[in-house]
């Protein structure tokens, strides 16, 4: 279980998170929505300890994130970065199998490669991309390689930062199904950021909306349409008029 309690984070005088609190029960899929630049990516990175919050606590299974053995802590996580963040000096399969080629989860290279190709297949990529360099792939393909890397070591907790942005509708469907499958079949805890409302409905157990540095609304996905929250309503219907200003 992941708990964020009253998390604050500013960059200079840009106050991004201003007391964000959120709880994600084990084995559930939480989707975070919210306007561009509201700090969704910052929130994910704070949980991983890539960004230090100025204030507030983040607990993973009751223990403060980042306490104890950091390697063991991070070994439980998989993360898809918004920009893919593939290592451009390594071929695709070594990117996917990065964790399996070194450290505690090390396997023989042949086996790691096989796992990488299997994961690539699950994100809809053929085996022949395995030996290409990331720079030779299209944006959407890079995103899917990033996704394959995030799930390669079968982590318990997976963060997806905009997994379907830049993908065609069919591929988005494939990825939505995959995320759902990982949560249901592998019992993983997932935290996904997306702007794609059909993705939200496909993968969420719970939804949280981040606005003005705090969680404006959170609840089960089924309650989303009848929330009565003007901010959430404006967001899910994509209206220009409403309490959220268009210029931020």
């Amino acid at each position: 279980m992941i708990r964020m309690e009253n998390v604050h984070k500013s960059f200079g005088d840009n106050r991004v998170l201003q007391g964000m609190s959120l709880e994600i029960p084990k084995g559930t899929s939480m989707v975070i929505i919210g306007g561009s630049g509201t700090g969704k990516s910052v929130a994910l990175k704070s949980v991983l300890g890539l960004i230090q919050p100025d204030e507030g606590r983040i607990l993973v299974d009751g223990k403060p994130a980042g306490s104890g053995d950091r390697d063991a802590f991070l070994a439980r996580f998989g993360m898809l970065f918004q920009g893919g963040a593939l290592f451009d000096s390594l071929p695709v399969w070594q990117n996917v199998a990065f964790r399996l080629l070194r450290g505690a989860l090390k396997r023989p290279p042949a086996e790691a490669r096989e796992i990488a190709i299997e994961k690539l297949r699950r994100v809809g990529l053929k085996a022949d991309v395995a030996d290409r360099l990331p720079a030779e792939l299209s944006g959407g393909m890079q995103k899917r390689v990033g996704l394959a890397r995030a799930i390669a070591a079968e982590p318990e907790i997976i963060f997806f930062d905009e997994p379907t942005t830049g993908l065609d509708p069919i591929m988005s469907g494939v990825i939505n199904d995959l995320i759902r499958e990982i949560v249901v079949e592998m019992g993983a805890t997932a935290m996904t950021i997306t702007h794609d409302m059909s993705s939200v409905r496909a993968i969420a157990d719970n939804v949280a909306m981040l606005h003005d540095g705090v969680i404006q609304w959170t609840g089960p996905v089924a309650d989303m349409d009848a929330s009565g929250d003007p901010y959430l309503d404006q967001f899910i219907h994509g209206r220009a008029e409403g309490p959220i200003e268009a210029v931020r």
């Binding site: 991070l74 970065f81 920009g83 963040a85 593939l86 290592f87 990065f98 964790r99």
Partner: protein
Amino acid sequence: MMLLAPLGQLGRAVLGALAAAGRISIFAWGAFSHMLRPPFYPRELLVALLNIGWLSLPVVGLTAVFTGGALALQIYAGGARFNAEAVVPQIVAIGMVRELGPVLVGLMIAARVTSSIAAEIATMKVTEQIDALVTLSTHPMKYLVAPRVAAALITVPVLVGIGDIIGVAGGYVVATENLGFNPAAYLKNTVDFLEWRDIVSSLVKGCAFGGIAAIMGCYYGMESGRGAQGVGRATKSSVEAAAVLILAANFVLTGVFFSL
């Protein structure tokens, strides 16, 4: 008030420089400590050895041969003013081995290696690859910094040694072909004149300059700001810092070796 403003600026600049020196020292200490503790990444080390050592050979060789040749011409012309043309072999040897070899190789490494390390690591930082490394339980200091610094510490002294030899050889060719020196006598004079201390100082300088070059590249890369501008600034600062520190370290090391 107006009169004090420059003083305030000076004070701020000094404080800023001291703070940077402190951060760089901590960074360097981290790099060394990670170099000695597992996990090690032999493949990364190999790639770094190749990039920093092997691929720098052409530029180091060319720098050294032209410098050695020019040095021979200068000493000959200068020496002729007081009938001391005969000292060409000795001065070329000492000049190359003690000073020009290490300094010019160091500066070439700053230009070639520091800049590329800084640009590469800064780009990785900007595109979140460093964050991705961390989430994949891999320490960037161990995976990126330690292999590069280790490779520079190993290869730059070797490069300096090779540069010394090629520089002396450049002087030899010019002296024997153009200035009428006897080849056997030139070589004998060179070998007899050089002391162990000259050679050791040259290699020690190489090691220090290599360390400086790699650490500056890594430090400014890791500290890079966001965007393409951040990468550009990191690269520029790293080369500036490496070049100035190499020259300063050269002064200090020369003092340590030859005036004590």
